[in-house]
């Protein structure tokens, strides 16, 4: 008898089934239950959608919209910062230096997430050195008041997830290669046209990967908001955590967790639809058909 083709994948499959699929399925199940009394965490003898209604009530709804705003804004900022950066590294830097710069991007990425964020807390603290320096230079009269606001959370998430945007963008720009850009220039395109009509469209897979790699973990962020956000910069991740820890309401926390996943999935789908609607007419208008070239002299064709 021949062994099944997936034989060697069985251990990993079983492990993930036991400690990922089943627990997450349980959370989905809990989300239809309720919290029985003060001491219970969850009960599932009566199933309903009430916890979802509760999770979307005005008290919590603002946290969802706030998280979505930070998520979308943070991802866009990463994209705006990351595109010139990745383009510079992939196109302008000599290949020898490129490996070194790439390593430099990876170092912060592998430095402890929590510690990096604490670094920002030290920098932004009203009694910290940045605040002192700005006051000494006369740029500010009062101590810095960014820490524990939404702006601090936005700064923190852009910082924390930026490498995840730069790396796939770099890979994509690198893959386009110099031959394509030279061909574009030989055909009469200037630098800007080459960038917008050749390099950027060809780097599309990298842009999509970067957006997803930043947006998905950003939406579930818990640490950045806890360290830099305080009470004013609340995100859904903290909401879920507090329902499981402080409030001991597992049913409501589960509903929030499921809603978080739904919000992420829906946003990604809506974003994809918008991107498609925007780029489709553009690429259509720019398409050159062979038939249009018929009237031109042989040489140009």
């Amino acid at each position: 008898m021949r062994a099944p083709r997936f034989l060697l994948a069985i251990p990993a499959w079983a492990w993930l089934a036991a400690f990922f699929v089943l627990p997450v399925a349980t959370v989905v199940y809990f989300s239809f239950g309720y919290k029985p009394g003060i001491f219970g965490t969850h009960a599932t003898d009566v199933l309903s959608l009430d916890r979802y209604r509760e999770a979307l009530s005005p008290t919590f709804f603002t946290t969802f919209t706030n998280t979505l705003r930070v998520g979308v804004l943070g991802t866009l900022l990463c994209l705006v910062i990351g595109i010139p950066m990745a383009y510079w590294m992939a196109v302008k830097v000599s290949p020898g230096k490129r490996a070194f710069l790439l390593a430099l991007v990876i170092v912060p990425f592998w430095t402890n997430f929590l510690v990096r964020t604490i670094g920002w807390q030290v920098i932004l603290a009203p009694e910290g050195w940045l605040s002192g320096m700005l006051q000494a230079l006369g740029l500010r009269e009062n101590p810095l008041a960014i820490l524990y606001t939404r702006s601090a959370v936005l700064l923190g998430v852009v910082y924390n997830y930026l490498p995840l945007m730069i790396l796939p963008l770099f890979v994509a720009f690198d893959r386009v290669g110099p031959a394509m850009r030279e061909a574009s220039k030989d055909l009469g395109a200037n630098r800007w046209r080459t960038f917008t009509r050749v390099t950027l469209p060809m780097a599309r897979p990298g842009i999509i990967a970067g957006i997803l790699l930043v947006f998905i973990p950003l939406m579930g962020d818990y640490i950045t908001a806890t360290v830099l956000g305080g009470a004013r910069g609340n995100m859904v991740g903290q909401l879920v955590a507090s329902q499981f820890q402080a409030a001991q309401n597992w049913a409501l926390g589960s509903a929030m967790a499921v809603l978080l996943i739904i919000v992420i999935a829906v946003t990604v789908l809506v974003g994809a639809a918008i991107a498609y609607v925007v780029t489709w007419p553009l690429s259509r208008a720019r398409r050159l058909r062979l038939a249009d070239l018929e009237g031109l002299p042989e040489k140009v064709r």
């Binding site: 083709r5 997936f6 034989l7 060697l8 994948a9 251990p11 990993a12 492990w15 993930l16 990922f20 627990p23 349980t26 959370v27 809990f30 010139p84 950066m85 510079w88 590294m89 302008k92 830097v93 000599s94 290949p95 490996a99 790439l102 991007v105 170092v107 990425f109 402890n112 997430f113 929590l114 510690v115 990096r116 964020t117 604490i118 670094g119 807390q121 030290v122 920098i123 603290a125 009694e127 910290g128 050195w129 910082y159 490498p163 790396l167 796939p168 890979v171 690198d174 939406m219 818990y222 640490i223 806890t226 360290v227 991740g237 955590a241 597992w250 926390g253 967790a257 978080l260 996943i261």
Partner: protein, 281 residues
């Protein structure tokens, strides 16, 4: 490249320098503040090595670091074992099943960590107390379980990517020469996949050292890993020891990163491929 530099080139250069400054600013701040002799991390009073001595003197700090390193090592071995087998199967025994399996791996990697965390907590309590599997009451076991999920997916991707890029003819030749499947796996497939296996293992180790959210939920008091210790110190006031340990951990991470880089370099990967491998993309 031989053309003259334009204004755009200089602007791009300046942009790159700014982004690097932004990326390294908080890390440098932490490193500088690890030499703070003051009582609180935020206010720098005077320069000294007191915080590094405190790592050795304070048992809570020492034990947290030890728990982290221990869990990291076990979780890395575990994830590497599971991931390597799965990666080999995906690359060498492809079929319709791979689609389902990759779907599962993708699901594992896109699920927000906080969801994994809140899902694992009741599940481990259920396994440990309701089913009486007392091993799941052990703090290190719980941490290893939590840390191994994402890493298993990452190692699977890396090993698969490496083997898909290599011709399967060597393995066929080995089989033609009457090597048993086990011998072929041990003597041909595994050595071919080795750079990816090592890189994956080191990544799994650093991922585990870094893991905060899952750890905060599944940990048992007595086996608090380092990031959770820092998280709780956040509420009671951050002391300079935190920066000192972070500086040491950063050095540890740098060494393991350099090892990964060297391993992949020797295996003939380009820097682009290395970057992809090291970020699991």
């Amino acid at each position: 490249m031989g053309e003259r530099r334009t204004v755009t080139d200089y602007l791009l250069y300046a942009w790159g320098a700014l982004v690097f400054a932004f990326l390294f600013l908080p890390i440098l701040v932490i490193m500088v503040y690890s030499f703070n002799e003051g009582r609180l991390l935020v206010s720098f009073t005077e320069f000294g090595f007191g915080s590094f001595r405190a790592i050795v003197d304070r048992p809570a700090v020492r034990s947290a670091v030890m728990v982290s390193i221990q869990t990291g090592a076990i979780a890395a071995v575990f994830a590497t074992l599971l991931g390597t087998l799965a990666g080999v199967a995906m690359a060498r025994r492809p079929g319709k099943w791979v689609l389902w399996f990759v779907g599962l791996l993708l699901l594992v990697s896109v699920t927000p960590e906080i969801v994994d965390a809140v899902a694992l907590l009741p599940w481990l309590v259920f396994l440990g107390q309701d089913l009486g599997l007392s091993m799941f009451d052990n703090g290190v076991v719980r941490l290893v379980v939590g840390h191994s999920l994402f890493s298993t997916a990452v190692v699977s991707y890396i090993v698969r990517a490496r083997l898909v890029g290599l011709d399967a003819q060597l393995e066929e030749a080995s089989a033609d020469l009457y090597a048993s499947p086990l011998t072929t796996f041990r003597r041909v497939t595994l050595p071919l996949a080795m750079p990816a296996v090592l890189a994956g293992g080191l990544l799994a180790f650093t991922l585990s050292l870094d893991n905060t959210i899952i750890s905060a939920f599944v940990q048992v008091s007595g086996t608090t890993p380092w990031p959770v210790y820092v998280l709780s110190a956040l509420r009671s006031g951050l002391r300079p020891e935190i920066a000192a340990v972070s500086t040491l951990m950063l050095l540890l991470t740098l060494v393991s990163l350099m090892l990964v880089w060297l391993v992949l370099r020797r295996a003939g990967d380009s820097s682009t491929q290395i970057a992809r491998t090291m970020t699991g993309t």
